[in-house]
Symmetry: C3
Subunit: 332 residues, 3 copies
Amino acid sequence: MNGALVNELYERLDSLPIVDIHTHVNWKTGTARNIGEILSYHYYTELANSAEFQRGDVPFEDPEELTRLMLPKLRFLRNTVQYDWLMMISREYLGLEAEDWAPENWKMIFDRSVEVMDRPEWKDELAAQAGIERVFLTNQYDDDLDGLDEDFYTPCLRTEPFILWMDRAQERQKMEAFFRRPLRSVRDFTAILQATFERFMAHGMGYAAMSIPANFRTFPVSDEEAQRLLDKAIAGGTWDAAEREVWGAYAMARVCDACRRYGRPFHLMIGVDRDVYAHGVPGGTDLFASVNSLRGYDYLLNTYWDVPFPTAVLADTSGLELVAAAWIRHNV
Amino acid sequence: MNGALVNELYERLDSLPIVDIHTHVNWKTGTARNIGEILSYHYYTELANSAEFQRGDVPFEDPEELTRLMLPKLRFLRNTVQYDWLMMISREYLGLEAEDWAPENWKMIFDRSVEVMDRPEWKDELAAQAGIERVFLTNQYDDDLDGLDEDFYTPCLRTEPFILWMDRAQERQKMEAFFRRPLRSVRDFTAILQATFERFMAHGMGYAAMSIPANFRTFPVSDEEAQRLLDKAIAGGTWDAAEREVWGAYAMARVCDACRRYGRPFHLMIGVDRDVYAHGVPGGTDLFASVNSLRGYDYLLNTYWDVPFPTAVLADTSGLELVAAAWIRHNV
Amino acid sequence: MNGALVNELYERLDSLPIVDIHTHVNWKTGTARNIGEILSYHYYTELANSAEFQRGDVPFEDPEELTRLMLPKLRFLRNTVQYDWLMMISREYLGLEAEDWAPENWKMIFDRSVEVMDRPEWKDELAAQAGIERVFLTNQYDDDLDGLDEDFYTPCLRTEPFILWMDRAQERQKMEAFFRRPLRSVRDFTAILQATFERFMAHGMGYAAMSIPANFRTFPVSDEEAQRLLDKAIAGGTWDAAEREVWGAYAMARVCDACRRYGRPFHLMIGVDRDVYAHGVPGGTDLFASVNSLRGYDYLLNTYWDVPFPTAVLADTSGLELVAAAWIRHNV
């Protein structure tokens, strides 16, 4: 490759400010407080689990112990980009070279990371050094947003509970408790959605978002049909696959109603197959199917022509289909 | 990249004569008569529509007005290959540079294009300059072919009306009127197909062609079953998806019978999803699905082993499947 | 490309010893004994058949005649990697250049190949020259393994008869005859599987293997349900697609039981569509579908967490799905 061109492109890109449009960081802490919290991310634990499978739990609640356990496994990950990221973090922030990462040095590495990362000024230093100007969060409807630094963070609403899990009594009760109102009718449902958007809008809401299973379909569903499904769930019944699909289409349209009303985009993240690997670490049990068409979104994208849908796909096989949709459709 | 090699390859390719195997040009005009007719092509209008959506119709019947409206939108398309084509046309044929394409110059650009393109000798000049030796047309069964310059144009028959639209009374009536005979039996249907091929063969027919929806399937269908479907349609009934599939398989086999009889190839263009974008410009409402297998063509390709099937696919996900079919099958 | 880097990579790769993990060679001969046996491989005959289709059989039983017939067809294959392999074999082993391969030289080429390849020491010379250290075979359950050179060959069991063909009376009778015991119950079936593994283990078994149709699914199936299917087949009934799927899931789990018990991997080769090209040469009638998800293997991979599953896919569209599965799952 042309080294000069590569360097120029890199430098131009590197000089751009960063707006992080999707992250799972907790705004109350903002950063990892030690290297164990970084190693606990499933990008690392799932690789270790896959490379050297051991039954038994990973001590996620004890970052120091997790660091001790992960160090010997890193030798399996040396050909991964995750390892490369880790070594860059180590060099640039901890002042430690790759050869320092011997298993017996785990305590030294952990302590050094606490020294650097567990300082109150660390988050601001890091953001300044990396040029991060704004971070769009991943929030549940009941996340505490009081005190959120809206100059830096933008809250974004995950909508899975409304669209995928409404037949679970526990989810409905949690919602009823949080909003202090019953959830027995589609009117209740719409009111709760609206209350959610109101709360997020008051904190500078970015977008609604959803990680959507492969081959999700959207189509018109009447209030009556949705009410019938809700009644069934409240009566303790379970939804079959077809009923789940109908509720999904209904609820997604209601979320789009709210997006339209509040002028917010709906961020579609398409194609996940949840919980298919039974022996995975937390966050490391999902995969995706290569068989997945965007055809099921036609109704939604056509009907909500005035809502923007920033869209991401997991499968490479959906890539060109998404590019074509973005090229033809004005709101994708 | 190796500039010398790229240049050599380009020059070798550029020196080859061009046989255009698929075009939508109208043989009676042959070329656009002004820049508005080029800008009216959906390759331009759909990009403008996607980049800056405006409800309301595009004035396709008024190329001058269309030019005026499209000029300010071109700034959104500067990173597209379509824009690059347009600028090449402008430089090479109109003598206008990219910087001349300011919105306020629309009238000058349009007038210049009329000067150049609306001359009787333009079509021959263009073909000579580009080295175009033959053009395979896209023709409907009822296109007027009288006076066709068969030394330059080859008519090709689109078969969608026969295979996909036979349950539409309007389509059947149009056919009956054009061929001046009833269309009430599968014998009538076959006779009309044969009359169509006869007419096209008399003008040097190239091939039969069809743009085929994703996951089309072929299988043996008896005359009796097809007659039952035709009876139902004539009686005013509508076909469900399964019946539509059965007629499609039947009618496609009848087209293949004709291809076999007249020694013509059947050009399959596989994978379109028609009319899925509700807010598109004419010609800009179709997309394709990434989920689409060629498995449904096995019956056809095996049965009509003596008919060549030049085949194109829309989806990248069908590419290697087509390559493998072409490598294994003798008639693909 | 960077020639020096390419050369270095090639030389490093070329210096590695070869362990051939999948081959169809017959261990009793080990190599082709003449060029006709190489040209008879479907990689050559299917290209010739596709490039210049001729009805009628290829004389596979007469390598000399096959050589005579194939020579004139090679001119169609000059742009293929198969032709390149053939010319390399010719230069390196027969001392013949590409220009020697004129159709009229067929007899000379054949005779030269017999001189070189039909010597008793040829197999060992070839293995030494190519650096082949071990070869994993493709074996049917009833292959004769007596006298197998286990220092060089590793027998591997193809499991299609057990998983895909159990409703065929002829297959069951062949099994009963070979194992000299009845096959009327799922217990018989399991016992026969076990006897098969015992026999292969006694010869240094490598792995169980199966070439699996697209969209195969695995799920729990009870012995009772499997027995019902077996009873139906024995009574002369045929299985429909759903029953075939149930037996497939059952039998595959039983093979995995054996893999677990004997500590052998199960090599999955996923995605073939058998016998879809009706006019192909032997071995040249299969294709693959681009629509094929690995989702159907979740049950198997989760349940047999202690069995390794080396996995290959035919379709490019399954590639990233497999990579992701290998990255997340510990036993893929």
